[in-house]
């Protein structure tokens, strides 16, 4: 007979970057995002797990420094814990931060329903710290164990035993005395028996990476190298991309070309192979970029960069803490928007969310590479230019929206060598997500696009210019006429990016194979895609944080301004720069003359004479 499992709720509580999400994944088999940064987890994540005779609902919470936390996610996490009064609490702390968890323990401990989990003990010992678990157990009067080095099975068994033993202990405890653990935690914080802090000295590597004159050039060198390996002709990224491209365009297309039915042949070659192949071939390059981002985060270098660049961010009304969200934007805009919850307040969050669409996410890479062939021989330089332009626009928007910058307080993540297993797992997860997206949303879009662009209203097979799609979207052709592309197919491809940015590359391949217009048009089109509204997933993520009205308004304004910007870029690239200069020179001159006239009448505010005559 099947034993009936007892239900129990377990909350993972602790400071940011303590290892709660890693523990969550170990207990539940889940895939919560983990990383070496304070603020990776931004929302409560729940999953069921079977722990011994218990059916547990395990909840991974964002890190809390205190019950009256500054950031939105901290406030949410504290509220969540207080609302789930009957849950078993696992206080997770890295050994080096034990003193900081004690106030949280005092504030939240529930006799018989909590335990302390220690993490990162090896690192702590290497830095000269020491800790006696038995003493801790005795002093705090609660179970204490170190999770480092335990297998997933051992961890599950450990937690199951804890819950079972605590259930027994609690039932025989005197409930009227108030939390004994809370009182002991307060007392222990004064004495810290059996605990010695790690050394404060910076290691040689830490000293180097805390030096701006070393760390910043190192970052740009690493970035340049990763771009070079990913995009330079003949190197790893380009080699793998060419291989996949050949597989689709020569090998598979060769087979499909032998299909006798023109409709079926068109469906397979245009609807499937051309469009899917044009996106899938960029997977190696997307994966390489993701690997770079993972290395930055996992090594702890990212938090040092945030510290060193805080001065630059302050100039545009942000703080170094925004670095994480902006860097995540190179991976996925939707995920980056979610990380903004770790920022200190709503106003800063809103500003960062408005800057994020200009950071080129990995989904834009296929279309950049498709377009760059039209205006740059070397895709490496083209992509670098577009990425740099995106970052520039992002900072320009931040400057435009500038308000008072928030105060900068941040705990630095420990420096560590990225674990190969973790990198492989994270990369595998990203690749899997990409292929799932390709096989569902993007494939469905391509199939629908091919059907609508291959048949008339009477369902007879035809060329795209006579199709259902042409009659519906024909009016859109004027949208990109000012950039030399008076073509509904280009407008349709651009707007398909609202569903998923990868669709743009696929749609262009499906209709043309490449980009059929001039280099100036290609660059202006790339600028539009760089600056326009993000995809619906990012708009939805933005709506969750700011509300639907604000998110949709922002998306509309971004698209309109992107269109105008693309018109301006095309105008400048096709000789309009001279006309602009001819217009601006007299304008500047007029402004200068007017300023001098004003100064003669009213006197200079900063002139030396004003100081004498004060």
């Amino acid at each position: 007979m099947r034993e009936r499992l007892q239900g129990v709720e377990i909350l993972l509580v602790g400071n940011p970057n303590a290892g709660k999400s890693t523990l969550f994944n170990a207990l539940t088999g889940g895939n919560a995002k983990v990383g070496n940064w304070h603020g990776v987890t931004v929302g409560a994540l729940e999953k069921e797990a079977k722990l011994g005779k218990f059916r547990a609902k395990v909840c991974d919470l964002p890190g809390i420094y205190s019950l009256e936390g500054m950031s939105m996610e901290e406030k949410g996490a504290a509220r969540y814990v207080k609302a789930h009064e009957n849950a078993f609490l696992l206080f997770v702390t890295e050994c080096g931060a034990l003193e900081r968890i004690l106030p949280l323990l005092s504030g939240l401990a529930r006799d018989g329903k909590c335990a302390l989990v220690l993490t990162k003990k090896r690192q702590f010992l290497r830095r000269g710290g020491s800790l006696d678990e038995e003493t801790l157990r005795r002093e705090l009067s609660l179970p204490v164990f170190c999770a480092e080095g335990l297998s997933r099975r051992a961890l599950r068994e450990k937690v199951a035993n804890l819950i079972e033993n605590e259930e027994v202990a609690r039932s025989s405890a005197d409930a009227g005395r108030g939390s004994v653990t809370a009182q002991r935690a307060k007392r222990y914080a004064q004495s810290l028996y059996g605990y010695r802090r790690p050394s404060e000295e910076l290691s040689k590597t830490e000293k180097l990476l805390a030096n701006g004159f070393v760390a910043i050039p190192l970052f740009f060198a690493a970035l340049g190298l990763s771009f070079y390996i990913t995009f330079a002709p003949g190197l790893l990224g380009d080699f793998l991309k060419t291989a996949i491209d050949k597989f689709f365009s020569e090998y598979l297309a060769g087979f499909a070309g032998k299909i006798s039915s023109p409709v079926l042949r068109g469906f397979v070659c245009d609807g499937l192979l051309k469009s899917l192949g044009s996106v899938l071939c960029f997977l190696p390059q997307i994966a390489l970029l993701f690997l770079f981002l993972l290395l930055m985060e996992e090594s702890g270098f990212l938090s040092r960069l945030a510290m060193l660049t805080d001065g630059v961010f302050q100039k545009v009304g942000l703080s170094g803490r925004a670095m994480f969200s902006l860097l995540m934007g190179f991976g996925c805009s939707a995920a980056a928007i979610m990380t903004t919850r770790a920022l200190d307040d709503k106003k800063i969050q809103k500003r960062v969310i408005l800057c994020l669409p200009y950071i080129s996410c990995s989904a834009k890479l296929p279309v950049y590479l498709t377009l760059s062939a039209s205006f740059f021989q070397d895709p490496f330089l083209a992509v670098l230019l577009l990425y740099a332009l995106g970052v520039g626009l992002s900072f320009a928007v931040a400057l435009f929206l500038k308000r008072e910058a928030p105060p900068f307080v941040m705990e630095l993540a420990p420096l560590q060598i990225p674990r190969p297993g973790f990198l492989a797992k994270s990369l595998y997860f990203q690749i899997k997500q990409f292929i799932i997206k390709l096989g569902t949303v993007i494939l469905a879009f391509f199939l629908a696009s091919w059907l609508l662009s291959s048949f008339r209203w009477d369902f007879t097979y035809c060329a795209p210019d006579e199709s259902i799609l042409a009659s519906v979207c024909g009016g859109l052709k004027y949208l990109f006429a000012p950039i030399g592309c008076c073509d509904w197919k280009i407008a349709y491809a651009a707007l398909s990016g609202l569903v998923a940015k990868e669709n743009v590359a696929g749609a262009l391949s499906m209709f043309y194979g490449g980009f059929p217009y001039s280099a100036a048009s290609a660059f202006a089109f790339a600028v539009f895609l760089l600056a326009c509204s993000p995809c619906v997933s990012a708009i939805a993520a933005s709506a969750k944080e700011l509300g639907w009205r604000t998110a949709l308004w922002n998306a509309l304004m971004q698209t309109v301004s992107a269109l105008l910007l693309s018109y301006l870029v095309y105008f400048l690239l096709t000789g309009g720069g001279i006309y602009l200069l001819l217009l601006l020179i007299p304008l500047f001159a007029a402004l200068l003359i007017r300023k001098n006239k004003d100064e003669k009448i009213h006197g200079s505010k900063r002139g030396f004479s004003s100081k004498l005559h004060r």
């Binding site: 080096g96 931060a97 805080d310 170094g320 307080v409």
Partner: protein
């Protein structure tokens, strides 16, 4: 004196923290609070951020925040 007036390697005991309540709470939770010993580890270029050690952790403070923390030299 405040943290910005210390040099790299200097130790001190926090005497007072003069800043808005939320920021004060964050600093206290990171063990940057009266009575705690801190050590200034590094100053970033142009003196924009100050890296200190507090209770075994590395905490980076912006200049404005560092100016709010008064210390007595050890």
């Amino acid at each position: 004196m405040n943290i910005t007036e210390m040099g790299p390697g200097d130790r001190g005991t926090v005497a007072e923290v003069n800043c808005p309540p939320e920021l004060k709470e964050r600093l206290f939770s990171l063990r940057v609070r009266p009575g705690e010993e801190i050590c200034l580890l590094k100053i970033s270029f142009f003196r924009k951020t100050f890296l200190i050690s507090a209770a075994g952790s590395r905490i980076a403070l912006g200049k404005e925040v560092a100016e709010c923390v008064n210390v007595c030299r050890a």
